[in-house]
Amino acid sequence: MKIANSPNADRLRAALRCLLCVLGLISRALPASAANPPDAPAVILIQNATIMTVSHGTIEHGAILIKDGKIAEVGQSIKAPKDALVIDAAGQFVIPGIIDCHSHIAAESINEGSISVSSIVNMAEILNPEDIDIYRDLAGGVTSANILHGSANAIGGQTLVIKLRWGQPATKLPFEGAVPGIKFALGENPKRSNFSLPGQPRRYPATRMGVEETIRGAFSEARDYKKAWEDYKKRDSAGEKNLIPPRRDLRLEPLVEVLEGKRYVHSHCYREDEILMLLRVAKEFGFKVRTFQHVLEGYKVADELAAAGAGASTFSDWWAYKVEAYDAIPYNAALMTRRGVVVSINSDDAGEATHLNQEAAKSMKFGGMSHDEALKMVTLNPAMQLGIDKRVGTIDVGKDADLAIYNHDPMSAYAVVQKTLIDGRVYFDRQRDIAERPEREKEKKALSDKLKKSGEKKSEDKKPDATVAIGQKPAEKKPGDKKAEEMKPEDKPKPPQSSSRESAAAALLPGGAL
């Protein structure tokens, strides 16, 4: 903008803002934040863009018309309707919003690590819509994420797919209609042989054999539980009196849903033997494994994966960070794809998630995947794996307007996200973010000074406190420790990023402790 360079820029901008306010063009003075979602314009036209549809090739100088949050038209040139918000994306690249098939953001806790079968817990109940990682992932073009429980348990907690609707309350995050999931984990993490604490009895299982037995045992229980209810209902509907119904068991109910195909299994794994083990157990009990996560040795059993119809969600090029990851190779994604497996590239990490486009692009070098094949691995493929491909994953008429706009080809290392849209709302706008930073800093400083002032006044009449308050959570954890601790069972090394500690601290909700 030209006015940004003039010495009177601030005043001009303020005046302009006032004018727009008066005209009713800006309905909300507040910037989008953890507590305020952005506006939802009824009609948006993105024009002059290079559109990578994923489903039907690339359209140069194309346009996308968005109506009520859905893609209404995709084409070469579309005339802007009268009331449309027009985004001129000349020289920019539009792709379907990135979908991260393995994420641990936006949650207040990740792992119920105390038990080997923690299917009783549900990530959906503890979503944290104020986790700053949501916003940071938006800044990396991510629009949907599979929020998984940790991997400390052979059978972990219930999981869900969310849309990164920053500023909306927790109830607005879940991807409507997406099939819920459950986390499984194989190998070192659930057997916990490296995690014993002095004085604590070691948790069962301690071997890979035990992991298999744990899963088998839980599904045997679930099968019995299902039968107990079926028997009860049969006898009850036959008019039998005075029946005591079975006790509802919230630990087994999700497993019954797995048996009934109503809940997807997303299983953490590395080695070929454990992958085959789970496929055998699943076959025995008659359920499907929807995705194998990480699946670093997937290239060794790609045919078995393809035959079982299981998806594979892997890393681009992380390996050798532990013995069971020694056989990982960067060709994994390409090799599995060649054998007919639906492959996605995931992050498992909030920082990694900000450049999943580049992670996917690595398979162009390692394995020779095409540009579009690589792009698919962070858009359509994860959508298929999560069963949300009817709604997202490609740029097609009728799909949700979940889009990421880059300044370069997203498969390039120079690509930076300019805007991220979900349901036709601009949840991330790089220019706007940069423009608002001084304002935020100013507010921060003003508040900081104000609070400091009142704090000084108060400190005079502070008295020593002897008693402990009721309902006060013991201050056993410091802000910032939370995520680090929950990451423990996750065996992935942190990528070299300076912001990891900072982001963990920022993820903590203010006023969380009572």
Partner: protein, 561 residues
């Protein structure tokens, strides 16, 4: 009552004094010595249930209000208190605390709760659950905060056992009594929940917030199931297997049957919205405690019609926070705006009350309440949130919370507006018993030595030598609190200090129908007390030693180790 003739006789006064010196008011009450009828005449009365009245009179008879108004006949037996310049409010109500609960947690014993560190393996082990514990049963007069809270104008609290996910049943307690049972007004009134995790890996189930929620879901289902199963079993003893008894289920099933209020912790917006969903899912009669970010979600809370207890411990920066660790804008906004939550709740039409929430110096509770007034809450709404509203929320508005005929005579009498900083609390009435409130004397100089501990006090009365015990607690600045117990009863120190080696502590007890100060002054040489007891101009010598102090001094000199 002694005759005035005897009163004039100095030695006789001594006898009277010494007979009563170490007796608390309630003890006298039992002896028939304390008045049971009071009248406060010509005061400004703020009944909360109605408009304030100027120059009004209140009559208290045997613990209840019996007359309030301008033209009120004062019964001849009443002790009349002139109310000019005084304002009378209903006794204040701290709507969630653990005042009155013994500091040592009750031992679990056999079948007791599995502590988190013992490693519960799932919901069936009932981690951190003691819903059968009852504040009414555990209430204890030994909690010194009963008096400090009362001195700050709080006559009533909702107290609950502490610790765990289901700590126990809360009760409404009045803050005075001769025996612990006198404290209890109503029990149980609520089942508080604590979203407490076992902390870290290896700590047993649940070690995450989602584990805690899952556990609570399961427990409600179990309680419901056990009620149903037990009923079917009772009807078919010979054809049905006996359901297992589980005291967590039994206690919660009873509570649910009584539509007990389930107190759900929720402070920030995310937690508040989550609490609204939980109350729906659980089908319980819910209330929220915390509530400090209600300024963002008040209308949503109003839509669900959940009452809120707002913690007055407003968020602030940690005192020794890392200066490099800059709080986020959102955190700063929260610290700034939290006190506006009560105003937001009032505006949205939510029923709310205020509670101390971890404030340990009760005088700071009103200061904190004043912050919410400065942030937009009407003063009368603030007063209501500390009196009638909590009484309504906990189902005791039929007997507490306002100055109305027939209600329990809990009052706080001040020399000005309750929320003004310079206002002093003059008198407090609990269940019609009168208590003098006063500012504790501040020590002038730092203390030399520590008075804390048990002391044996010896003195000689005209009837011969006598002993009593003092149980003292001294703070770092030399402020002394505690109790003195003679064979006649126990009285609390209303003001006490140690300044260098000079000590002074005062009891206030009714003497011949009027309150009298009994003051102990003297010097502390590091091991013993020496000084005099004075009351109404008369005094006598006394000595104080620590019981067993000599032997301990012999056993543990510095060189012994």
């Amino acid at each position: 009552m002694g005759s005035s003739l005897i009163l004039r006789c100095a030695s006789a006064v001594c006898v009277t004094v010494l007979l009563t010196v170490f007796c608390a008011a309630p003890t006298l009450h039992a002896q028939g010595g304390e008045p049971q009828y009071f009248a406060i005449r010509g005061a400004r009365v703020v009944p909360v249930s109605g408009a304030p009245m100027e120059n009004a009179t209140i009559v208290i008879s045997r613990g209840l209000f019996t007359a309030i108004g301008k033209d009120v006949t004062i019964p001849p037996e009443a002790w009349v208190i002139e109310g000019q310049g005084l304002t009378v409010y209903p006794g204040l109500f701290d709507s969630f605390t653990d005042v009155g609960m013994p500091t040592a947690p009750a031992t679990g014993g056999e079948g007791g709760p599995r502590r988190a560190q013992e490693g519960a393996r799932g919901p069936e082990d009932r981690p951190a659950s003691t819903p059968w514990r009852s504040a009414a049963e555990e209430a204890s007069l030994s909690d010194k905060r009963i008096e400090t809270w009362r001195s700050a104008g709080f006559t009533t609290v909702v107290s609950a056992p502490k610790g765990g996910i289901f700590p126990g049943q809360a009760a409404v307690l009045d803050l005075a009594g001769e025996r612990a049972g006198d404290l209890v007004v109503k029990s149980p009134v609520a089942i508080p929940l604590g979203f407490q995790t076992s902390g870290g890996f290896g700590g047993g189930f649940p070690n995450s917030i989602m584990g805690v929620l899952a556990y609570i879901h399961q427990v409600w289902l179990d309680a419901e199931w056990s009620t149903k199963a037990q009923a079917i079993y009772e009807k078919n003893l010979r054809s049905t297997a006996r359901p297992r008894y589980d005291r967590t289920e039994a206690a919660l099933a009873d509570a649910l049957e009584d539509h007990a209020l389930i107190l759900i912790p929720a402070n920030n917006s995310v937690q508040l919205r989550r609490a609204l969903e939980l109350a729906d899912r659980w089908h319980v009669n819910g209330a929220i405690y915390g509530g400090q970010m209600a300024y963002e979600v008040a209308p949503e809370i109003a839509a669900k019609k959940l009452p809120v207890l707002v913690s007055l411990k407003w968020p602030e920066a940690e005192k020794d926070a890392d200066p490099e660790d800059k709080p986020s804008l959102r955190t700063l906004q929260f610290r700034d705006r939290a006190p506006s939550s009560p105003a937001a709740l009032a505006k949205a039409g939510v029923k709310f009350a205020l509670y101390s929430g971890g404030i340990t110096t009760p005088k700071d509770i009103l200061k904190a309440a004043k912050k919410s007034i400065e942030a937009g809450l009407a003063p009368d709404a603030a007063l209501r949130a500390l009196t009638l509203s909590p009484a309504e929320i906990f189902g005791v508005a039929d007997r507490l919370g306002s100055i109305e005929n027939g209600k329990i005579a809990n009052l706080v009498v001040t020399d000005g507006d309750l929320f003004e900083e310079k206002t002093k609390i003059k008198l407090v009435f609990v269940d019609g018993h009168r208590f003098e409130a006063r500012e504790p004397e501040k020590p002038k100089d730092p203390p030399k030595g520590d008075l804390s501990g048990k002391w044996k006090l010896s003195y000689t009365t005209p009837d011969g030598p006598e002993e009593s015990t003092a149980d003292l607690a001294m703070e770092k600045d030399g402020t002394v609190s505690g109790t003195i117990t003679s064979k006649r009863g126990t009285a609390s120190i209303i003001s006490g200090s140690l300044s260098v080696d000079r000590f002074s502590f005062t009891l206030n007890i009714p003497l011949e129908g009027a309150p009298a100060d009994v003051t102990f002054t003297g010097t502390f040489d590091g091991t013993s007390l020496k000084g005099s007891i004075s009351v109404q101009g008369f005094s006598m010598e006394f000595n104080g030693v620590k019981p067993g102090g000599i032997s301990r001094a012999m056993v543990s000199p510095g060189g012994a180790q």
